[in-house]
Structure formats: C-alpha cells, structure tokens
C-alpha cells in the first residue's frame, strides 16, 4: 500500500491512497485554543479536507446542510454558558439529521461515565483530551475516511464490472443478429 508523508505540523505517516477524497470535517469546541490546535492537526493529516470550525453548537447545527463526513465534537460545549447546548444534545441531533456522519467526541474529563454516555448516544468513538489526543483524532479520521474511501472504491469496481457485463451482453446480441 502506498504511503506518503505530509510535511508540516502534526505530520505522520499515513495511508493516503485509500482516504475518501475531499472529505468535509466539522470541528466543534468552545475553547478557541484547542480548536485552533485541532484545525492545524487535522489539516496536516487529511490533505484536501474541507475543514469547518465552530465554537458553538448552534453554528455547527446550522451548517449540517454541508453534510459533514466527520464531526469532532467537544462533550462540554456548555461549559461556560450553561444555557448553550451540550455535546450530547448536539450528538443526538447530528445522529438524527445525518445518520451517515461519524461523530468523534472529545472531553478534557477522562471519565468512564462520559465515555459510556457518548457511545450509548451513537458516537463513533470517545477521546479524552491529553497529550496524545491529536494523534488519536488523526488515527480515527484516517480509519473513518479510509473506510469511506475503500467503500467508494468498492462501488466503483462494482459499477465497472456491471458496465463490462452490459457491454458483453450488447455485443453478444449484436453478433447473434
């Protein structure tokens, strides 16, 4: 499998050949510092990705028509402003409105209850914010987008086979005439 290296911040060796092309990725965190770091980490990892960053749940949900492939979502979105929607509310709304979108939940609190809460509500995975969290987010993105890329490649092969079969049938029919 061909592998390549993207230079820049957060560069890792990764499988680029099979990643979904031009994926749409939403990053949602009300901590501007963490959001900026996440933006740079993800943009270094996934070439060609359309990355949209939001500091509030409302702005993320208002842009769901962009059909994100992946949403990386903070669990404590209502941390400072309790009247704001929390991450689980947003997760539920995303799962309801866009079931194909994969949601990776993030939290600075490394708690089993938080992890269970996320997974029970349909998160793809849960990551606690730590020194390795950017690497883990990027690994998960590579897996998700790789699966989507493989799936697209699989359907392209099926389409090609069907086209060949159709051409053979037409050619046979013409020969038999």
């Amino acid at each position: 499998m061909s592998r390549s290296r993207i230079n820049g911040p957060f560069s890792f060796r990764l499988k680029r050949a099979t990643l979904k092309k031009d994926p749409v990725i939403f990053l949602v965190d009300d901590d501007p510092l963490y959001l900026r770091a996440l933006e740079l980490a993800v943009s270094s990892q996934v070439g060609g990705a359309k990355i949209h960053s939001y500091q509030t749940a409302a702005s993320c949900l208002n842009h769901m028509h962009l059909k994100p492939d992946v949403v990386v979502l903070d669990y404590f979105l209502d941390a400072v402003h309790p009247d704001a929607k929390n991450g689980i509310d947003v997760l539920r709304e995303i799962r309801r409105s866009s079931p194909r979108t994969k949601v990776i939940m993030l939290s600075a609190q490394d708690s089993l209850n938080v992890a269970i809460d996320c997974m029970e509500n349909g998160a793809y995975d849960y990551i606690s914010k730590s020194q390795s969290s950017f690497i883990r987010v990027n690994n998960l993105l590579t897996n998700i987008l790789g699966d989507m890329g493989d799936s697209n490649a699989f359907f392209r092969v099926i389409q090609l086979i069907l086209l060949i079969v159709l051409l053979v049938i037409i050619a046979s029919a013409l020969i038999n005439q």
Binding site: P9, F10, D31, A37, A79, V80
Partner: protein, 112 residues
C-alpha cells in the same frame, strides 16, 4: 538565567514539529482568551457561582498545558476540584489571584 521562567513551549514545538506559524498562532489565541477566562472566573467567584468556576477552570487546562505553565497545573486542578466539591472554598481567592498573575506574566514572557 533561563529565557523562560513561567512557560515552556516544548510540548507545542513537539506536536507541531517546530512549525513557528502554528506556535505563534497558539500564543496569540492563548493571550487573547486566557485573561478573559480568568476575568470570567473572578466574576463567578463574586457571584458564588461554583459551577461556573469549575467549568472555566476545566476550559483553562488545555491552554495551560499547551503553554507549559507547569506552576499552574496543580493550581488549576485545585480550583476545579474545590469548586466542583464546594470544599476548601476559602483557598479560592488566593488560587484565582495567583492564576491571574502567572497567566499575565506568562503572556508577557511569550511576547518576547
């Protein structure tokens, strides 16, 4: 005498492979957001809004880690824990005051 007394950008350099533009950007975001968060915490303390203090402390943790302000790592945990459990609340004024001073000193240091 070491150039940096309060901050250590080693972690930021490590995760960014020394990408200076990224490091400068993170410092800029920290410098603009951290003092605002500390001010918010001080308001919450005056209002005895312990949940608010806990949540702001929680949100300050990544910034303190990114900037390598090791002398605040325990303080920010103590503030969060105190406010969450509503215990040892008498230590909060000193901890919050220290947080404000060290964050301002760190920002000054990061400007150089």
């Amino acid at each position: 005498m070491a150039r940096y007394r309060h901050t250590n950008l080693g972690y930021l350099k490590e995760i960014s492979n020394g990408h200076q533009e990224f490091i400068d950007d993170m410092i800029r975001v920290f410098s603009s957001s951290a003092p605002r968060m500390v001010a918010e915490m001080e308001v919450f303390f005056r209002e005895k809004n312990w949940a608010g203090i806990k949540m702001v402390a929680h949100k300050l943790k990544p910034g303190i880690a990114f900037m390598g302000i090791s002398e605040l790592k325990q303080d920010i945990l103590d503030i969060e824990e105190s406010a969450a459990r509503q215990q040892n609340l008498d230590q909060l004024p000193e901890l919050i005051s220290r947080l404000r001073v060290i964050i301002l000193l760190s920002i000054e240091e990061l400007k150089t």
